[in-house]
Amino acid sequence: MTMTADDVARIAHLARLELTPEKAALFAPQLDQVLAYMDTLGQVDTSAVEPLYSPVEHAALTRPDEARREYSRDEVLANAPETDGQFFIVPKIV
């Protein structure tokens, strides 16, 4: 597995990170080293092992379908970047 600066740039874009080309070139070999560890793990034969999706053994707890309003709109909007008292306001999307 060889990471290129282009791979790094693509992943950075998906995560909405802004990287300079210099940084992308710097991170590519570092990520390569991380992935090399994964390759080592990948050599273990797991064909007879059930996939482990969670280390937690117990089943999901559920809650009854009873509605509650615990927060006022003012509280919910308290951290909004911008608001008119009703909506979260963000830079125009389309």
Binding site: L14, A59, E66, A67, V76, N79, Q86, P91, V94
Partner: protein, 476 residues
């Protein structure tokens, strides 16, 4: 088209009719003020933990049973990662590997008979919020009320070969969901949404052509139009030797065309991974048994029963069972006056026309099944004619008045008293000596003229059978 064949698969998102969101206790009500039904969990605040709604699980499993799908006793939630302001966490909680249900099937009626459409999977997921884009300012407004509302996504196999089959499948699916009471099926409000995957290949080809995905078409009619347009576009491309691009397209209902959603992050890379905040969902076999016992009679079974028990034609049975409330209305009316075909005709013509005109559902209809049944019974008894029945139907529909009381109050009962009619018949014959002479000379078709005159004088209330008998006797 003769040498080509369309291949269609559908993804349906159905909003579940739970009181609360999938992972928090916020209400799911439609139409509340913006951001009134939001809490730290659905607003994606750091440090919160999702806890699953047990009714959402029950509803998803009931849908699975209704279409004969397998319920996976263990299923897992995954994060589907993408950035958009209506998704505050930066990921949607959905299911990817190990969905809740797999391998279902839905039977549809086509011109060529019954056809089975496979359902690949049903999985649970949360809805996103809603964005409103300002036309004057450089701003978008985000409402998170819908964010976290439970959905099931129902993914079909690419088993449909025409837009008609696709619509038949959608109608059947919607009907089942509404029968179960797990989704209200409202397409305008977005409780039942559909994306269509369409490709075209030469007949006999084993491989699929390149497909396009058409997003968010909001009525059965538009699904049909969008698919038909897309099939035509693919055939044109193939004929012209152009490559079809695998892409997402939006249907423009005004222009009747699909358009590419260029630049909208076409290269999807959702980087799914199991959600570490949620442990696997386990369904107990005993729950499944309990839920199975709660399933209502489903549309297909009801259709068959209506044909067998009431002797209705297949078409009538299909129309009457498409909605559970209509079927219940029909059965309640037949319980009062056991003339199934006549009751069916009144429901399918007069009642449905009135309901369509005022845009109401049968649930709130003022004319109750007993009223409709009484009206049909009164007509059958000969007390009023079918024609009068149709004339007064609008009034009865709007007021919900008892038909007997209404007819009595308006003095509409047919004149079935020979004595009373006798005088009217004499009067008409006396006023038209010329016609009487012509009739006696052999012009028998003048009977219609005399009946018309008598009906006019009695404002249509004369019993037609009696009029005929009286005329025959008098004109000899």
């Amino acid at each position: 088209m003769a040498e080509y064949e369309a291949v269609i698969g559908l993804e349906v998102h159905a909003q579940l009719t739970t009181n609360t969101k999938l992972f928090c206790a916020c209400p799911t009500r439609f139409g509340d003020g913006p951001n009134e039904n939001v809490c730290p969990v659905c607003a994606g605040m750091p440090g919160v933990l999702p806890v699953m709604n047990d009714r959402a699980l029950e509803y998803a499993c009931k849908m699975a049973m209704a279409i004969d799908a397998t319920i996976n006793l263990t299923s897992i939630f995954a994060r589907k990662n993408y950035f958009y302001p209506d998704l505050p966490k930066g990921y949607q909680i959905s299911q990817y590997e190990q969905p809740l249900c797999e391998h279902g099937r839905v039977e549809i009626e086509t011109a060529a008979g019954t056809k089975t459409v496979g359902v690949t999977r049903i999985h649970m997921e949360e809805d996103a919020g809603k964005n409103i884009h300002s036309s004057t300012e450089n701003k978008s407004f985000v409402d998170l009320n819908r964010c976290g509302v439970p959905l099931i996504e129902i993914v079909s196999e690419p088993d449909m070969r025409s837009s008609e089959e696709a619509v038949a499948y959608l109608k059947e699916l919607r009907s089942i969901l509404v029968y179960l009471g797990v989704c209200d099926g409202n397409m305008e409000e977005g409780s039942f949404r559909c994306d269509a995957n369409v490709s075209v290949r030469r007949k006999g080809d084993k491989n699929f052509g390149t497909r396009a995905e058409i997003k968010n078409v909001n009525s059965f009619r538009n699904v049909q139009r969008a698919i038909d347009y897309e099939i035509g576009r693919h055939i044109d491309c193939i004929e012209d030797g152009e490559a079809i691009v695998q892409e997402t397209r939006l249907f423009d209902a005004n222009k009747g065309v699909t358009q590419s959603m260029r630049g909208k992050e076409e290269a999807h890379d959702y980087r799914y991974f199991p959600d570490p905040d949620l442990v696997p969902v386990r369904v107990e076999p005993s729950w499944i048994e309990r839920w199975r016992g709660e399933l209502p009679e489903l549309p297909a079974a009801k259709r068959e029963r209506f044909i067998a028990k009431y002797g209705l034609p297949e078409y009538d049975a299909g129309v009457l069972t498409a909605e559970r409330e209509v079927a219940d209305y029909f059965e309640a009316a037949v319980g009062v006056h056991p003339e199934p075909k006549k009751i069916a005709n009144w429901i399918m013509s007069e009642l449905m026309r009135e309901l369509n005109e005022c845009g109401e559902s049968i649930r709130g209809c003022r004319l109750r099944p007993e009223g409709l049944a009484k009206l049909v019974r009164i007509i059958d008894s000969g007390a009023i004619s079918g024609k009068i029945g149709k004339q007064i139907f609008g009034d009865l529909f709007r007021s919900g008045e008892d038909p007997e009381a209404y007819i009595a109050a308006k003095g509409l009962a047919q004149i079935s008293d020979a004595g009373a009619l006798d005088a009217v018949v004499d009067e008409v014959l006396a006023a038209c000596p010329g016609e009487v002479a012509r009739y006696k000379a052999g012009e028998k078709k003048l009977t219609g003229f005399f009946v018309g005159q008598i009906m006019q004088k009695t404002k249509g209330q004369a019993n037609p059978k009696l009029v005929g008998e009286l005329l025959a006797a008098k004109l000899g």
